[in-house]
Amino acid sequence: MLSVKNLWVKFPTNKGLFDAVRGISFSLGRERLGIVGESGSGKSMTGRAILRLIRPPGFIMAEYVKFGEDNLIDLDESKMRSIRGRRISMVMQDPKFSLNPVMTIGAQIIEAYRQHNDVPKRVAYQKAIEMLDAVLIRDTERVLRAYPHEVSGGMGQRIMIAMMLIPNPDILIADEPTSALDVSVQKQVMSILDGLVTRRGMGLILISHDLNLVSQFCDRVLIMYAGRIVEVCDAGALHQARHPYTQGLLNSLPRLTEKTRHLSVLQRDPAWAQPDSVTS
């Protein structure tokens, strides 16, 4: 469905070009693909680059980013707009930041829904209630009348997920979509996404630092370090991952059953940043 070859994201800085993403290649089918890696390793930039959402002066280079027949890299901006948010949706890492602060949540959902479905307001309103119910939001009617700053962190995340699913995208890129949710609500939200992948054949890219979530929920996982993919593995086998960086990440998790004063931290090895990306 999506095929990325030799993708770079570069930012000019006063010390020269900074490569946030360094020549990665991967493909996505009708599956759940996880991307994990430490902070700053280039996960969000990879997601944004697919949709060409890198803010200038930053820029993208790639052999291709193929989506069906199209190469997204050289598509003109108007074609790109018809793909963005319709065929490929992205849930941004800072959910409330992507909502309009001066419009009620309900007005935003209804507007988005009616952009994609020719229905009267009343029907869209009912749909909005159903969507919020599905992500376990209580007092849905009150929340629809609220402004983004009037909902909690986890509510904002769930509202964004609901909105991004409105256009029935072929691909959903979800950047830390559940980082503010506890495990039980997280499960519910993930099962909605799961249903879309298994029933509707949507492709999902799940960017997350939650290794347990990714290993339970995804099919494959890309592990990023310093802008490169250092390891690709089956999600179920994440805990047996071989790369010392991946093992380091796993070891730094606190565990409910163990009491320690200090958590183990990564001892980064400069050699990790050297080799070419693993392709998947």
Partner: protein, 246 residues
């Protein structure tokens, strides 16, 4: 250090009224690390915001270090004692201020003179190199922004930190570094923490006691040793434990 009795916090009126916090009692001892967990929307952030004067309507009593807090204005003395790290690092950093401006301004407001070396020390504390010093928030990754927010909270050397999901935007390796840093700071400076997190393992690692919230109320108060053994009473806590153990 902190004593909260019969705290109620509400927003809006009529059909839009939300009773976000209902009759909450809390006592946090000096040097203690106290956890707040609970469902999304249960009122955790609101409690921290009420303490720092960001909730317009509240009733009940709050006493910090022997002095009573009233209304919504907090003076300089208060902010020398208490600092907060917000859940949403994007919203809490000024978009047109560089990391350097954020930190030097905060240091200046707290009357700290040696700004240059303090900025470098603060960045180092939160695991950022000097390379990040002159960046704007949009030039940082999500985790890097959160580290700047933590550095800012530490700048005035407070006695108490209110931490709202301080590591939920961070990857596990940075999370480990930040949690270790918070552990060491607490030991060195006898800091007091209230930490909100949806992650039971994180709360258990950091805290001595945990309050569990649901619909604005505290439904269970549990010692972490008990939590580790799985000895919870409230069904919501049991469910969380089960999902955490997998």
């Amino acid at each position: 250090m902190l004593n909260v009795t019969k705290l109620n916090v509400w927003f809006g009126h009529g059909r839009d009224r939300v009773d976000a916090v209902k009759s909450v009692d809390l006592t946090v001892e000096k040097g203690e690390s106290f956890g707040l967990v609970g469902e999304s929307g249960s009122g955790k952030s609101t409690i921290l915001r009420a303490i720092t004067g960001l909730a317009p309507h509240w009733s009940g009593a709050m006493v910090i270090d022997g002095s009573k807090i009233v209304g919504t204005s907090r003076d300089r003395v208060f902010f020398r004692k208490v600092q907060m790290v917000f859940q949403d690092p994007y919203a809490s950093l000024h978009p047109r201020h560089t990391v350097d401006q954020v930190l030097s301004e905060t240091l200046y407001l707290h009357g700290i003179t040696d700004i240059e070396s303090n900025i470098l020390r603060l960045l180092d504390n939160v695991g950022l190199t000097a390379r990040f010093r002159f960046r704007y928030p949009h030039q940082l990754s999500g985790g890097q922004r959160q580290r700047v927010a933590i550095a800012r909270a530490l700048a005035g050397r407070p006695d108490m930190l209110l931490l709202d999901e301080p590591t939920s935007a961070l990857d596990v390796s940075v999370q480990a570094e930040i949690l270790n840093l918070l552990t060491d700071l607490r030991n060195e400076r006898h800091l007091t923490y209230i930490m909100v997190s949806h992650n039971l393992a994180v709360v258990a690692h950091m805290c001595d006691r945990v309050a569990v919230m649901r619909h604005g109320e505290i439904v269970e108060l549990i010692k972490v040793d008990q939590l580790r053994l799985g000895h919870a009473h409230h069904p919501y806590v049991k469910e969380l434990l089960e999902s955490t153990y997998g």
